[in-house]
Amino acid sequence: MAIERVKITRRDFLIASATAGAGLSLGLYLPLGNRQAQAADTIQEVNAWVVIEPDDTVIIRIARSEMGQGTLTGLAQLVAEELECDWSKVKTEYPTPGQNLARNRVWGSFSTGGSQGIRGSHQYVREGGALAREMLREAAAEAWDVPAEECTVSASVITHRPTGRATTYGKVAAAAARLVPPLEVELKDPKDWKLIGRPVKRLDTRDKLTGKQVFGADLQLPGMLNATIKACPVFGGALVTFDADAVREIPGVRAVVRVGDDAVAVVAETWWQAKKALDALPVTWDEGPNVGVSSESIAQMLDEGIAADEAFIGNQAGDVEAALAGAAKTVEAVYSYPYQNHATMEPMNATARWTADRCEVWCPTQNGEAALAATAEAAGLPASQCEVYKIHLGGGFGRRGAFHDFVRQAVTIAKQLPGTPVKLLWTREEDMLHGAYHPITRAKLVGGLDENGDLVGLRIRISGQSILSAVMPGRLSNGADLLTFQGLLPEGDHAISYTVPNLLIDHAMRNPPIRPGFWRGVNINQNAIYMECFLDELAHAAGSDPLAFRRKLMAEHPRSLAVLNAVAEKAGWGQESGGMHRGLAVCMAFGSYVAACAEVTVDAGGKLKIHRIVAATDPGYAVNPQQIEAQVAGSFVFGLSAMLWGECTIQGGRVQQENFDTYPSMRIAEMPHVATIVMPSGGFWGGVGEPTIAVAAPAVLNAVFAATGTRIRDLPLKNIDLRAA
């Protein structure tokens, strides 16, 4: 059978690509007989990453999810840089997880967490752009019957230098799509980048200003019903019974359904009707084995871990016990960090349509492929008969990546109403009670100083919860959760920023029955507080300036030292502060080097005002500096909201905070000025969305000490009286 590349309609593309089989990374091969499938609405897929329409519109495919962090624009910049296209004509689209599965994962990972969007895919997306560029150049050269080397490309225009003839990408895209791609392509030298490194505007702003942007919660499908759900508020509990007859007569109610072992949902014509009925529904729960779990019982568990004999070692050097025994002075402190909820502004939601042979889901997700797997499992269908359509997220922060409980629930509900699309939207209260919480830990730190005030030994015992053991046990290393040591490891993307001659950092894993999850920054949130606040304590005990004390330990950490020096210099560390009290912090996380200097005042009534934070980040390469600046300031809001007010306390085996009245978040009045220094030193690709969250809280807490003499070792700050003692 003759095979030829043909233009196909977008609808045919979706169908064909779902059946095209493996490995067709450069488009679809269809039998000639399908030529009639051509229509005015054609797409010209040069390769998996690049589609160019006849009017020169460039559609760049984005596998990772946009949740506010700007990765959509950054990834498009990477492709467009190599493609040499006209940036003003760039649009983006998401390929679906089903297409990725059908095409042998041509788009790679869809996972959008761990600040991986750019740093995890820069190589292959740039290669995708470069390969497409070479195919477009070749297509023009073939049409002109000239060597491709004589043709230059710029801003979607191909020019034959000797004759001056020119054409555009849109005119040759169909021909380019038929070419065999080059086996290899050379990527640009970073010094030749024109688009990477430029503070271009985001591609997704306009619709967010007019209400047009559709989030998962806003989805509307013909014939769609609305649902809301209540799962047993006690972790590990189960649903016993519910009295559907009591609410069946409420206007709009269409169904009251059991959802798995632990939840009940009402399906109605409108969401408000569903909520009213669910509020009125008599439900009996079996509260299960965890009803006696409380913040106090968890604290006891963690205290026991602090003193335990056995622990997993994360970082070790020299002989810490001997060093501490021989120290001229030792300092000891215990710090703790509570549970946090992601509290995305858009509560969890998913829309599902189930039939006996197909299940479709529309949802905000940080990992489309994981959402597809959850869909298939709940639907009882092979993944090839399921599809997930990703929608922009109203916040993710880690909640919508590793867990797709909301997808499973939506499918389980839809399965009980075959053929009818059902949108499940959680209430805020449900969202607060069924989170994947930032894990709880505490740490005991002991430091030893010699006669010169130099740090000769440091011992850190972390006690508390492991995320991996609950979420991804396959990623444990001989039982140890190395992620627990983020920011404290000997090497890698989360390396410690100091060299201490005698060092022991270990983790006594204690896992309360509260579901932990990845929460923006993950374990650097507390580890940076433990390390950076305790170093401040040590500096004081040594009679040293906190900057000078750190510098002495950083000779082998030049990039960390560079960001620390940058914030100290810009903030004017050691100089007249105009009544401000300053604090420092530095950390390496997610492959980037970050530091902060906070400036605060605390008035006589104990009221804290954070005036300014000077921040520096070295992410290696900075793809879009203005978006990095937005992520730095934004990460501070997330980290400081937690530091100021964030805690989920447990009583009776359930979370006590159900809304923003008891789980407050920062507002504009509390927002400090943020001065961001983006200082890419080149040669590596670090993350941006998360690293800086680590340094906001410890820098502020160290500044609070400078202002008040009070060491804050237990968070959140709302529980501490800062009035002068």
Partner: protein
């Protein structure tokens, strides 16, 4: 039965008068730009205007409103996204995820109706919307830029 005037258009609904305005806008009118987030009037994602004043539509029963009152949602703030705040927001790339931004813009627009040149202190005391992405500093810059645009300035 409720009668409302939304974005200049009359609209009749068969709903319980206790139904919050938010859910009438979303479920009955399909105006999905106004967002649900907390449901208790704390976060501001559901902010709309009633006779030019910012209200949190998730806690306003539709039965408490009359058709004489002018309700404006984000979809009706300007015909083409050209309100000075929308221009300023575009110029400064204010939104991140964007979910809170319709409410943020409506709250800021109501403030500018009352106070065309707000100081930072005015902004702090008036704008109490929650944004978990942390867009606040650009929100503040956006309001000041919109003020200049209102006076005939350029972005």
């Amino acid at each position: 039965m409720a009668k409302l005037t939304v974005n200049g258009q009359p609209a009749d609904f068969e709903v319980d008068g206790e139904t919050p305005l938010l859910w009438v806008l979303r479920d009955e009118l399909g105006l999905m730009g106004t967002k649900y987030s907390c449901g208790i009037g704390l976060c501001g994602a559901c902010t709309v205007h009633v006779d030019g004043q910012a209200i949190r539509s998730c806690v306003v029963p539709v039965g408490s409103l009359t058709e004489a009152q002018k309700i404006i949602t984000i979809e009706g703030l300007s015909p083409d996204g050209s309100h000075p705040l929308q221009q300023a927001w575009a110029e400064l790339d204010v939104p991140q995820c964007g979910y809170c931004q319709p409410g943020m813009i409506m709250a800021a627009a109501a403030m500018l109706n009352e106070n065309p040149s707000p100081t930072d202190a005015d902004i702090d005391s008036t704008l109490t919307n929650i944004c978990r992405c942390g867009t606040f500093n650009r929100v503040r810059s956006g309001i000041h830029l919109a003020t200049r645009l209102n006076k005939g300035g350029r972005p």
